[in-house]
Symmetry: C2
C-alpha cells in the first residue's frame, strides 16, 4: 500500500473530484499532445507517397496540405458544435448513439477504442524510433524502451488526468515554441530572399522522378497526410475532464489545438517547398526525418536544432497521453451502458478509471510486443478507427441538426447541418481512400477487429440484460418461510474453530446438526470420531440441557473418496428432502490467514467448500463463514465466552 | 474433469486401498528401478577416476567393486532388519527418529528428500544423455526431452504406484535379461579363452598412465563407485506400498534388487578387466559408455547390442520412478508429524499423495532446467543425501539393538548390533570420502541445502505447534451470549440478491440493519438511495408489520473513497460499541458464477468484502454468504417464496 501511495498518490475522496479537473492550460498538454504531435508525422507520410515524383514532390505538398486544412476546418466547426450540443464525455459515441442508434454508437466507440490503443503504440514507437535513429546504439533496446515509456505514461495517468497535464506541460509548450519559432524564422528568411532562401545545410537532393502525377497518387498522399488530423476529436471525447464551465474550457482547448496544428502544417508545407525538402527512405542508414531536414536547412545543426528535435521526440513519446485521458472515459460510458464489464465504470483511487488505464496499457504493450515496437508495421492499422468515428460523429451531428430543422426551421441550424454533412462526406471519402490504400498492408486487421470487438460488446450487453431481468423484482416483499434455518456444521476435531462455529450456529437457530466426516484423511488414519462423540455426550449436550435448549445433533457420515464436498452436498439434499420449505445454513469454521506466508500451510478446505456450496448447494442455502485467526484475542476473551450466559 | 479422469484414472475409494498395493513382481520395477539402473553408471564413475592409471585402471576396478559389494552386503543385512523392525513407510526417517531423536530423523528425511529430487534429475538426464549420444541430432532438445520424460513419469505415478510398476515391468525385466545374458555370455567366452578372450570389437586403447596408484585415488574411485548403491534403501522407505503381508513382499523385493545388482556389478568388473575396457572422456565426440564398449566387445554391434543398449536407456530414464514411489510416502509421514504443510499428508484421487508427486516433479524440473539437463553438472550434488541417510539409519538400528541388548542379553541382537555398527562406520566413511572428493565441484550446494531445508521444516513445525496450542480447548463448553446476532446487510439496489439476503437475515435474527452505501460509484453518479428508502417505507416495513415482527432498519452511510470495506468495518465497530457482548453477522448477497467466463463480468466485491471481514472484522463476527446464480430456479419458486408465510 505504501508503494502504491508513492507511485500514484493518496486516495482521493469523491469531494475532491472538481479539484482534479483541468483548465485550458493543463488541457492542451494532457489532451492535445496527440493532435499536435501529428504534425511531426502527417506531412512526412504525405511526402513519402509523393517521393516517386522526385523534386516535384515537395511542390505538391502545399495543395494536399490545403485540402487537409479544409477538412480540419470542417472538423473544427463540427466538434465545436458537438461540444456545445453534448458537453459530456465520449463525444462520437454519444452523438452517434443519440442520433444514429445504439449500434452506430457502439461502432463509433469500438473504432475509437481500437484507435486509442493504436495511438499509444504508434506514438511511443515513433518517439523511440526518433530516439534510436539519433542514438543508434540504443537500437537493440527498441522494444524495451517503448515498454518503459508506456509504463511511465501509465503510472502518470493513474495519478490523475490533471497531474499528467501539469507534467507534460513543459515538453508540449517547448515543442510549440521551438518548432513554431523555427518555422517563423524560416518563413522570414524565405520572404527576405524572395522565396529562394539559401539553406544552412541543404536538404539531400531528391531522387529522379520515376512516376508522373496521377489522381490516385495524390489521393493516396492525401490519405496518408490525413494522419495529421488524428487527435482532433480528443477534446470532444473528454469534455468531462475539464473544470466547470467545461464547455468553455473545452472550446478553448480545441481552438488552441486546431490553430496551432494548422499553423504548423501550413508552415511545414511552405518551407518544404522553399527548401526543397522531400521524404527519405526510412530503411536507409542516412535517413533524416522531414522536420530534421527542415530544421537543419533553416537553423543549421546548432542548439536550436537540438532543442527542436528533442522536443519533437518528447511530444511523440508522450502523445500516447491523449489516449490515456480519453480511453478510460469512453470505457466508463460504454460500461455504464452495459457493453463492458462493470469494473470499467468504477472510478479508481485517484478518481480516474484505473481499470481502463491498465487495460489500455496492456493492449498497447501487447501490440508493441507483437510488432516489435516498429512504427512502420503499425501505421497501416492506424487512422481507420479515427476516420470511422469522425464519419459517424459528423453524420450523427447532421441528423441532429436535420431533426432540429424539422422541428423548427432556423437558418443557423441549416448552416450547421450543411457543415456537418459536408464534413461527413469528406471524412467518409478520406476513410474510403485510407482503407483502399492500406488494406493489404495491414488495414484488414483493423477492419476485421472492429466487428469482432463490436460483437463482444453486444454479447456482454446481452449477458447483463439477462442478469438484470432475472434480478428485477416486481412482486411485493414476502418473508417466505420465517422459521430459523436448519444449521449444518462440518466439524473435524473439537477445537476453537468448531467451538466458535457451534456458538454461532446456536445463536442463529435451535436446530443445529454437527456433521463429522470420517476417513477424510485416507484409509489408514485413525480419527477422532470416538473422541468427538464422547465430547458431545459429556460436555456439549449437558451444557445445553442446563440452559433448557435443544442440543445439537452429532451425525457421522462416511467420505469414501476423501473429499468433503460431495458428502456434504448429499447430506444437504437429504436434509432438504426431509424438511421441505426450510432454509438451510452451513456454518464453516475458517482459519483466516493473517500473513501471506500462512497460505501454503493451510488446506483452504473452507474456501473450496464455500465455492462448491455457492455453486451447487441449491436454492435457499446460506454459507456462514466463522473466521478465526491465530492473531485473535486469547481464549477467555470477554466477547467470545462471557463468564455467565444470560 | 474428464481430462483428469483420462490422464490419471477415476477416483479411487478408501476401500480400494489394498488393491492398489504391490507384490514383488510389480515392486521390482516400481521401486527397484533406481537401484538396478545404478549398475549403468556406478562402475563407469569409478573407472573415470581410475583413468589416469592407463591400462592398469581396469585391473583396479575389481578390488574396488569388491569393497562396494561388501558395503552393499552390509546395507542389505541392515535394511532386511530394518524392514522387519519397522514395517512402515519412511525407513530411515522412522528409524532415526525413534532411536536418535527427532532432529536426527528430520535430518535423515531432509537428506533423503533432496536425494530423491536429485535421483529424478540425474536418472532422467543420464537416460536422455545416452539417447542423444546415440542420436546426436536430438542433442539440441536435451532439456525438452528431459522434461517430457519427467512429465510422463509424473502422470504415470499420479495414476498410482501399482500401475507404475506394471507399466515399467517390460523395460525392467528386459534390462535384467539382456544385460545379464550379455554378461553371462561374455564370462563364458572369457573362461573358454582362459581369461584372455578375443573381443568382437576391441575397446579403444587406454591412454598412457599419467599417474601412479595412490590411496587417495583409490578412495576417490570407491567414493564415485558408491553411486552404484543408491536406491538400495528405497524398499525400506516404501514398505507401505506393498500388499499384506508387506514385510514378506518387501524382503523379497529387497533381496531381488541386491542380488541382481551384485551380479551385474561383479560381472561388469570381471569383464572390464578381461576386455581391457576403460572409461572414455565424455566431452569427446567419439565417447562410448563402459557398458557400450563391453557389449560391443562381447557381442559385436548386432541386435543383442541394440536391445541391451535400448533397455539400459529406458531403465535410466525411468529410474526416476523409485523416487516417485518413496518421496510422497516420506512427505506424508513428515507432514503427519507437522514438519510439512498438511496438504502433503492427504491421499489424492488415486490414493497416492498427489501433492508430493507434483512437488517432486516441480523440484526435479527446476533442477533439470537450472542445470540444462546435463548429468555431469548434477552428479557432484548427488549421493551425499543417500549416504547421510544410510549412516543415520544404520546408527539408529545400532542403537535399537544396543537398547534391546541392554534390556535383555541376546546373541542374535548382539550380532545384529555389530552388523549395523560396522555398516554405520562404513557408510559414514564413504560419506566423508564423497564429501571431500566432490565438495568444490558442487557437493557444497547439497551440504548447504540440507540445513536450510531442515530449518524450514522446524519453522513449519513451530507454526503448527503454536496453531494447535491456540486451537486447543481445555474449558468445558459454554454457549456464551445466547441472543441472536445483530445482522448487517450491505445493500445497493433492491433486487433478488438483496431480497434473498434480507429473507435469510430475518430468519436468523429479529435485529436486522440494511446498510446502504452512497457515492460508491464515484462523485457524478445518481443513485438509488431515494428509491430504496421508498421501497422500505412502502413495501418492506408494512410486510413485516403485518407479521408483527420488527422491521429491518435502513441506514445510509457515505463511502467517500468509493470502497465498501472501510465504511462497513467502521459501521461494525460502532454497532459493536453500542451493543457490547453481542455477536454480529454480516449477510453478503453474492452472485455465484456458473461459468468461468462470467468471472470478468462481475466485480467480486462480495468476495473481497468477505476477505476483509474475515481478517479485520474482529472477534464474534460471522460472514453469511447468500449465493444467487443466474441459473437458479425462476422467481416464484416454491422454496424461495412460498405463497403463504406461516
Amino acid at each position: 500500500m505504501r508503494l502504491l501511495d508513492f507511485l500514484v498518490g493518496r486516495e482521493l475522496a469523491n469531494s475532491e473530484a472538481e479539484q482534479d479537473k483541468m483548465t485550458t492550460l493543463e488541457g492542451l498538454p494532457a489532451i492535445g499532445l496527440d493532435g499536435l504531435a501529428s504534425s511531426a508525422y502527417g506531412p512526412e507520410a504525405a511526402l513519402a507517397i509523393l517521393a516517386p515524383l522526385g523534386a516535384l514532390g515537395a511542390n505538391w505538398l502545399a495543395p494536399i496540405t490545403l485540402a487537409i486544412l479544409l477538412v480540419l476546418a470542417m472538423l473544427f466547426v463540427s466538434y465545436w458544435q458537438t461540444i456545445r450540443a453534448y458537453p459530456v464525455n465520449g463525444g462520437s459515441y454519444t452523438v452517434a448513439t443519440e442520433n444514429l442508434g445504439a449500434t452506430a454508437g457502439l461502432l463509433a466507440a469500438t473504432a475509437l477504442m481500437l484507435d486509442y490503443v493504436l495511438t499509444v503504440a504508434v506514438g511511443i514507437s515513433a518517439g523511440i524510433g526518433a530516439l534510436t535513429s539519433a542514438v543508434p546504439s540504443l537500437h537493440t533496446h527498441t522494444l524495451n524502451l517503448c515498454l518503459c515509456v508506456l509504463a511511465i505514461v501509465t503510472v502518470i495517468n493513474l495519478r490523475g488526468t490533471r497531474e499528467a497535464g501539469i507534467l507534460f506541460a513543459i515538453p508540449t509548450y517547448l515543442f510549440i515554441a521551438s518548432l513554431g519559432g523555427l518555422l517563423a524564422f524560416g518563413l522570414g528568411k524565405a520572404m527576405l530572399a524572395g522565396g529562394f532562401p539559401t539553406p544552412e545545410i541543404p536538404a539531400p537532393a531528391s531522387k529522379v522522378a520515376s512516376e508522373s502525377v496521377t489522381l490516385w497518387l495524390l489521393l493516396r498522399a492525401f490519405a496518408s497526410g490525413c494522419t495529421a488530423m488524428t487527435g482532433v476529436e480528443a477534446v470532444s471525447n473528454g469534455v468531462g475532464a475539464f473544470r466547470q464551465p467545461s464547455v468553455k474550457y473545452a472550446h478553448r482547448t480545441l481552438a488552441a489545438i486546431v490553430v496551432i496544428l494548422s499553423l504548423l502544417l501550413a508552415g511545414i508545407a511552405v518551407l518544404a517547398r522553399a527548401y526543397h525538402v522531400g521524404a527519405m527512405d526510412q530503411t536507409k542508414p542516412d535517413y533524416q526525418s522531414v522536420l530534421s531536414q527542415l530544421a537543419g536547412a533553416v537553423a543549421g545543426h546548432g542548439a536550436a536544432y537540438f532543442v527542436t528535435m528533442g522536443s519533437i521526440l518528447a511530444v511523440l513519446c508522450f502523445s500516447a497521453n491523449t489516449s490515456f485521458v480519453d480511453f478510460p472515459r469512453l470505457c466508463r460510458l460504454v460500461a455504464r451502458d452495459g457493453y463492458l464489464p462493470r469494473d470499467f465504470a468504477a472510478p479508481g483511487r485517484r478518481l480516474v478509471n484505473s481499470v481502463g488505464i491498465i487495460w489500455l496499457a496492456l493492449a498497447a504493450g501487447a501490440l508493441l510486443t507483437a510488432f516489435d515496437g516498429i512504427t512502420d508495421r503499425l501505421i497501416p492499422l492506424y487512422a481507420i478507427g479515427a476516420f470511422l468515428a469522425f464519419t459517424l460523429s459528423q453524420s450523427g451531428m447532421a441528423v441532429h441538426w436535420a431533426r432540429k430543422c424539422a422541428a423548427k426551421e432556423s437558418w443557423g441550424d441549416r448552416a450547421r447541418l450543411i457543415v456537418n454533412a459536408t464534413g461527413a462526406i469528406a471524412t467518409a471519402t478520406s476513410l474510403a481512400i485510407i482503407l483502399a490504400a492500406k488494406f493489404l498492408e495491414g488495414a484488414w486487421i483493423t477492419a476485421l477487429a472492429i466487428p469482432c470487438v463490436l460483437m463482444l460488446f453486444k454479447t456482454i450487453k446481452r449477458y447483463y440484460a439477462r442478469l438484470d431481468g432475472r434480478l428485477a423484482i416486481l412482486a411485493p416483499f414476502t418473508i417466505g418461510d420465517p422459521r430459523p434455518p436448519i444449521v449444518i456444521i462440518p466439524i473435524r476435531d473439537w477445537n476453537r474453530l468448531g467451538e466458535r462455529a457451534l456458538r454461532c450456529a446456536l445463536r442463529m437457530s435451535p436446530e443445529v446438526i454437527a456433521l463429522h466426516l470420517s476417513r477424510l484423511e485416507g484409509p489408514d488414519i485413525e480419527e477422532g470420531a470416538e473422541k468427538l462423540r464422547l465430547r458431545w455426550r459429556d460436555d456439549i449436550e449437558p451444557a445445553l440441557r442446563a440452559l433448557r435448549r435443544p442440543a445439537p445433533r452429532l451425525v457421522q457420515v462416511d467420505a469414501p473418496f476423501r473429499g468433503m464436498n460431495s458428502p456434504i452436498l448429499k447430506f444437504i439434499a437429504r436434509t432438504r428432502e426431509q424438511n421441505p420449505g426450510r432454509a438451510i445454513a452451513v456454518v464453516i469454521p475458517a482459519l483466516a490467514e493473517a500473513h501471506w506466508w500462512e497460505l501454503p500451510l493451510h488446506k483452504r478446505r473452507a474456501r473450496r467448500l464455500q465455492g462448491v456450496l455457492s455453486r451447487e448447494g441449491g436454492a435457499n442455502l446460506a454459507v456462514v463463514i466463522v473466521p478465526w485467526s491465530l492473531e485473535d484475542p486469547q481464549p477467555g476473551n470477554v466477547l467470545d465466552s462471557p463468564p455467565e450466559p444470560k
